[in-house]
Amino acid sequence: MIILDRLSKRHGEKTVVAGLSSQIRPGKVTGFLGPNGAGKSTTMRMIVGLDAPTEGRALINDKPYRAFRHPLREVGALVDAGSGHPGSSAYRHLLGLARSNGIPASRVEEVLETAGLASVSGKRIGSFSLGMGQRLGIAAALLGDPGVLLFDEPVNGLDPDGVRWVRELMRSLAAEGRTVLVSSHLMSEMQETADHLVVIGRGRLIADAPIGEVIAGSSRNAVLVRTPRPETLERRLRAAGMSVTPESGALLVTGGTPEEIGDAAFGCGVPVHELSPRMASLEQAYMELTAESVEYGSTAPTAANHRKA
């Protein structure tokens, strides 16, 4: 388990992480989400002792990272894809790490095999593609068979086969009872992989809940109603306090359950031809949560902007 206790990091005037507190539990994949610059990478670096917190602490199984005699056997991390010396071979890079923590050399071949790098283990890291570098970083994280794993943008640069491999890897690691923390911007992947979400923005915690709850909290959850008499139903639903948006011949209703809408239609004698709940996607829920916290945002071109230009 990872415990973040009022973790804060300031660089001079700028606050990168502000009073972050959370418990990341074993047995599930916890997704770590936030806009660019929100403090995700900094938080992960603080967990493994690369950056020192300004205040607060990050503990793994109740100890700080540097207190472990064999840290690589407790925590595996893929943070800041700086894998190793570009002149060193993949094998020797992992061998050095293994020797530092008393891990046998045979283990190096095992993890290279698992990561799909067995055929290039003798090649220089400098000649690796982005995807291969990522796989090497994942192999390094698995080297000590740790109970806690941190992955910062693991699918960066991977092809669809690699993305699927990472997803299945995370799920199987969590199923074995390990603690898995993954940060990613790929919402569709996160939706498939994560059980629990920690969402931060501008260094602050925005949400810390199971993924179902986060998505259910989105205002984009709606019910699609198809009826031959939309105006009547619309009036009735608006009167009940729901908001109704026409959409391609049907009505998109928010603020009411399918049961309430069905009953309302029955009450005013309107036939219903389709009544289906529309779940928000994780991306939509995430965008709503973090709209205020986007650090490096861009404005999408809108009709108004075009007219101005």
């Binding site: 950056d51 064999h70 700086g82 894998s83 071979s89 020797r92 050095g96 890897l169 690691l173």
Partner: protein, 265 residues
């Protein structure tokens, strides 16, 4: 899916780690990079070349009536003043390359106790530097002796003392380089500083004519090193030279350790 998970198990009990693990780590890293090999090879080659040139120069000077005969190890030491750059480059890259390519993060994840990491790196590089120094001294002596003939006559005792002194000197300046490299984190800044301190400064202060500056210049590491390599007895004996070098090395390590502990990786 099951094959994947069972393959991920590491069943051997936890062992190793600590300082021994850190030293094994640094040793593996040092020899995994080509720059270590070629800088040491370049050193050996340059050592032989300089030693030959020095030997020939002594032979020629003696023929012209100048008395420049000295034991061959002490003649070769002049060449080692330049050959030491090979060891300095190796020590610099062993420290600064990790910052340049980001692998310092992997290193500190494997060995999070920073003082231990620095100690291990220093021990490994200093040991290699000491071995290199001994090799340079013996090789240089043999080559110089070939060209200088009887003008470079020496005893086994002189060679042994010179080889030991050269090994100690190169080990301690390797320590100096690692401390400096940890503070600057860049190869360019480190090498420039080291060259200034070792080669430029002592020569510079000699021409100023300012008394205390000239005296201070005698306590630079390269002057102390020359004493250790040649047992010249001036400007001071080995009993002073060694503490001077140790102080320089200790100051650099202290600075490096402070910087390492205070900064984010």
């Amino acid at each position: 899916m099951n094959e994947m998970t069972t393959a991920l198990r590491l069943t051997t009990p936890a062992k190793g780690g600590g300082l021994r693990g850190a030293i094994a780590f640094e040793w593996t890293k040092l020899w995994s990079v080509r720059s270590t090999w070629w800088s040491l090879a370049a050193g050996v080659l340059l050592c032989a070349v300089f030693a030959a040139v020095i030997g020939m120069s002594v032979e020629a000077s003696e023929k012209n009536g100048f008395d420049v005969a000295r034991p061959a190890p002490h003649l070769a030491a002049q060449g080692i003043m330049l050959v030491q750059l090979a060891v300095l480059v190796m020590a610099t890259l062993a420290t600064t390359a990790e910052y340049a390519n980001g692998s310092i993060r992997a290193t500190l994840r494997g060995v999070p106790v920073r003082g231990r990491m620095l100690l291990a790196k220093t021990a490994v590089v200093a040991a290699v530097a000491a071995a290199a120094g001994t090799v340079f001294c013996v090789l240089g002596t043999l080559v110089t002796a070939v060209f200088a003939g009887e003008h470079g006559a020496y005893t086994a005792g002189e060679l042994a003392a010179a080889a030991f002194g050269t090994g100690v000197y190169l080990a301690l300046i390797a320590v100096l380089v690692i401390g400096t490299g940890t503070v600057f984190r860049s190869a360019a800044g480190t090498i420039t500083t080291i060259i200034m301190v070792l080669l430029v400064l002592p020569e510079l202060v000699k021409v100023t004519g300012v008394g205390w500056l000239e005296t201070a210049g005698e306590y630079t590491p390269s002057v102390a090193g020359a004493v250790l390599m040649t047992r010249a007895g001036e400007p001071y004996g080995g009993g002073t030279a060694l503490p001077v070098l140790l102080l320089w090395a200790a100051a650099a390590v202290a600075g490096g350790w402070a910087a390492l502990r205070a900064r984010d990786a």
